[in-house]
């Protein structure tokens, strides 16, 4: 860091910013195009791609595409489904993975090292390699709900939630974090007679803020952007998440303005959330890279 000291010679500074801005343009132009196009009627959207007008809010600007998108597909339902699935998965994931990591780091139990090794080994198994047998299993699992015992999990929230609650990466993140907590703190609490559950809930978890944010953000990104799995397991409209909902805009005549409006609708909230919590987002990705 120190070697690359601030350099205030006007011209060099200027070129540095020019390079930074040029690269920034490469990264934002598709997103600017998406938002601007969502405000234009189809014909203008297509003709504008011939010039820089594609990136400017010019011509016949309106929110008509947005209202049309809501008419074409139950957008609110899809967003709600995604929020439900993502929210519940993140919550349970934080709870269950942190409890497991607590047991791996602080407790001494038979089989611990073997189980942890196995869980970390799952990190190199790509989801795509077991998606199809998982589909077969999910289609036959029992469930006891309001309508009694039913078989098969397809077309439900649970099939989108339960398989993704526990994963090796989240457990790994918690394990790494817990290892660095001061052990004396936990020993002291135990000496004073606190149960392990109290130690977990009252001492360790209140200290776990940063890793909770990291795990939540990574899980959020994975879950909100789910595509392959809901495509396979959800045929009923009632449970479809936002990415699968896209299909509605490609039936028969594709209205590109509506597509762009829908894309903006499902992307901009995440981008706003990201820009608001930018530091935490970037810190969370960076922490996956810290080798332990």
């Amino acid at each position: 860091m120190a070697a690359i000291s601030a350099d205030n010679h006007g011209l060099r500074l200027w070129t540095r910013y020019a390079v930074l801005v040029l690269i920034a343009i490469i990264f934002v132009f598709p997103l600017v195009f998406m938002v601007m196009s969502s405000l234009k009627p189809d014909q203008q959207l297509l003709s504008d791609t011939a010039s820089l007008r594609a990136f400017l809010p010019v011509g016949d600007i309106s929110f008509h595409n947005y209202t049309a998108a809501f008419e074409r597909a139950p957008v609110g339902l899809f967003v709600m489904n995604s929020v439900i699935v993502t929210g519940i998965t993140v919550l349970f994931s934080l709870l269950i993975c942190s409890a497991a990591a607590f047991a791996f780091v602080f407790l001494n139990w038979k089989g611990r090292d073997l189980v942890l090794t196995l869980i970390l080994a799952t990190l190199i198994v790509p989801f795509e390699t077991y998606a199809i047998p998982l589909l077969l299993i999910a289609s036959k699992l029992p469930w006891i709900g309001f309508d009694g015992l039913t078989w098969g999990w397809l077309n439900s929230y649970r099939v989108q939630i339960i398989p993704f609650i526990a994963d090796g990466l989240t457990i790994f993140l918690f394990v790494q974090y817990f290892k660095d907590l001061p052990g004396e703190l936990i020993e002291a609490a135990r000496v004073e007679g606190a149960s392990w559950y109290q130690v977990y809930a009252k001492i360790v978890m209140p200290l776990a803020g940063p890793v909770l944010a990291t795990a939540a953000i990574l899980k959020f990104l994975v879950m909100y952007n789910q595509y392959l799995w809901p495509l396979m397991v959800v045929q009923e409209e009632g449970y479809r998440p936002v990415m699968v909902g896209l299909q509605y805009f490609f039936q028969l005549n594709v209205a590109w303005g509506e597509v762009m409006a829908y894309l903006s609708l499902i992307t901009l909230p995440v981008l706003a959330f990201y820009l608001y919590l930018q530091k935490a987002f970037i810190a969370s990705i960076a922490s996956t890279g810290v080798k332990g």
Binding site: M1, A2, A3, I4, A6, L20, A24, F27, F29, P30, L31, F33, T49, A50, I96, C97, A99, A100, F102, A103, F104, V105, F106, L107, W109, R112, P126, F127, E128, T129, Y130, A131, I132, P133, L134, L136, I137, I162, P163, A166, D167, Y200, L221, Y224, Y227, L228, L246, V259, V270, L271, Y274, L275, Q278, F281, I282, I285, A286, S287, G289, V290
Partner: protein
């Protein structure tokens, strides 16, 4: 670490239990299930009972054979020519029910090359899957170094002390939070053959010298177009990992370097790069594993086309196992993919261990 604590079997299993059960049930079990299914003829819906078929699925996917043919000659012994090329006997006469060549039955031509007077044909039982393997490897071999290199360049760029640098860091990272499905749709617009932004841009910069191309509709550009887009989307992710590596390098090393009068390149070569070794290993492994999973881009943009030029292993696994409901074939592809990923991560681990 926890040896200083007393044994607590019950609490340990109770707290780890839920996660262990979920991972065992929804990851480890389906994974072994896939291995089992790959030795059967299971289909999603089938009137016939499932049977054990041994390695038949693997043979159907990976079966390769070669055959060398002599060109056809006329009675005088001169090579027969057709459209300026020597004429060869029809391959079909060898690969369809020819009792003299039972091992070639059901194969198709993958590619051929001329050797001396004759021509050697490489035949595959599943030409599409062979193309999928080759495409996936091309994708990985290009994306891993290029994406890692660009990400490092960006990280070095963003690691400067400049006003507002955090804003640029945030912008470079932005595509990472956007769904790959959304990104793929947007880039379909960029690559479009008629009103595509890329064609318009190239046309404007070259004053119309570069002709418009249908980037995704052309077998020679489609995979490249998908590679460029994938790098665009993910490079910010690895930039941040490089950045965290850069920030672990002690500033005193840089101070020492500048006292010694090291040039910028020397500083990078002898201080920065050695400090990034662990990060480099991690990034290469992560990119490689992500790249082998290439699916969504293909599904949204090309469906494997044109002319199978963007088929990939995972796309084939899903198309077969789900689209064509051939569960056992899809499972066999999954197992093949896993074996490839496992061997590559073992090789990478071995290579990186060798040097330290």
């Amino acid at each position: 670490m926890s040896s200083k604590f007393l044994q607590s079997n019950r609490t340990g299993w109770l707290m780890a239990g839920p996660a262990v059960i979920l991972i065992a049930g929804f990851l480890i079990m389906p994974f072994f299930f896939a291995i089992g299914l790959s030795f059967t003829n299971q289909r999603l819906i089938s009137p016939n009972p499932t049977e054990f078929v041994g390695l038949a699925n693997y043979r159907d996917l990976l079966g390769l054979a070669t055959i060398s043919l002599e060109p056809l000659r006329d009675d005088a012994g001169a090579v027969l020519m057709k459209d300026g090329e020597p004429e060869y006997p029809a391959l079909r006469s060898f690969t369809r029910n020819n009792p003299d060549y039972p091992h070639l039955d059901g194969t198709r031509e993958w590619f051929s090359f001329d050797r001396g007077e004759g021509r050697t044909y490489v035949l595959a039982r599943d030409v599409v899957f062979m193309k999928a393997i080759v495409n996936t490897f091309i994708f990985v071999l290009i994306v891993a170094p290029v994406q890692a290199g660009l990400a490092l360049g960006l990280a070095l760029l963003i690691n400067q002390r400049l006003r507002g640098i955090n804003l640029f860091r945030a912008i470079y990272f932005m595509p990472v939070v956007v769904s790959i499905v959304v990104v793929s749709l947007l880039w379909s617009f960029i690559y479009d053959g008629q009103s595509g932004l890329l064609n318009n841009l190239l046309g404007a910069v070259s004053f119309g010298m570069i002709p418009a191309l249908d980037w995704l509709g052309n077998p020679s550009t489609a995979l490249g177009a998908i590679i460029a887009m994938s790098i665009w989307q993910a490079v910010g992710f690895h930039m941040v990992i490089w950045l965290s590596g850069l920030q672990t390098i002690s500033p005193t090393l840089y101070e020492a370097g500048s006292i010694e009068g090291a040039s910028k390149w020397q500083t990078f070569r002898y201080i920065t790069w050695p400090g990034l070794r662990n990060t480099a290993v991690l990034i290469l492994i992560v990119i490689t594993m992500q790249a082998f999973g290439l699916f969504s881009q293909i599904d949204v943009m090309t469906q494997g086309g044109p002319l199978d030029s963007t088929q990939t292993i995972v796309f084939q696994a899903v198309e077969r196992g789900y689209g064509k409901q051939d569960i056992s074939g899809g499972s066999a592809i999954s197992v093949i993919l896993f074996v490839i990923v496992l061997s590559i991560s073992l090789i990478q681990r071995w290579l990186t261990r060798e040097r330290t």
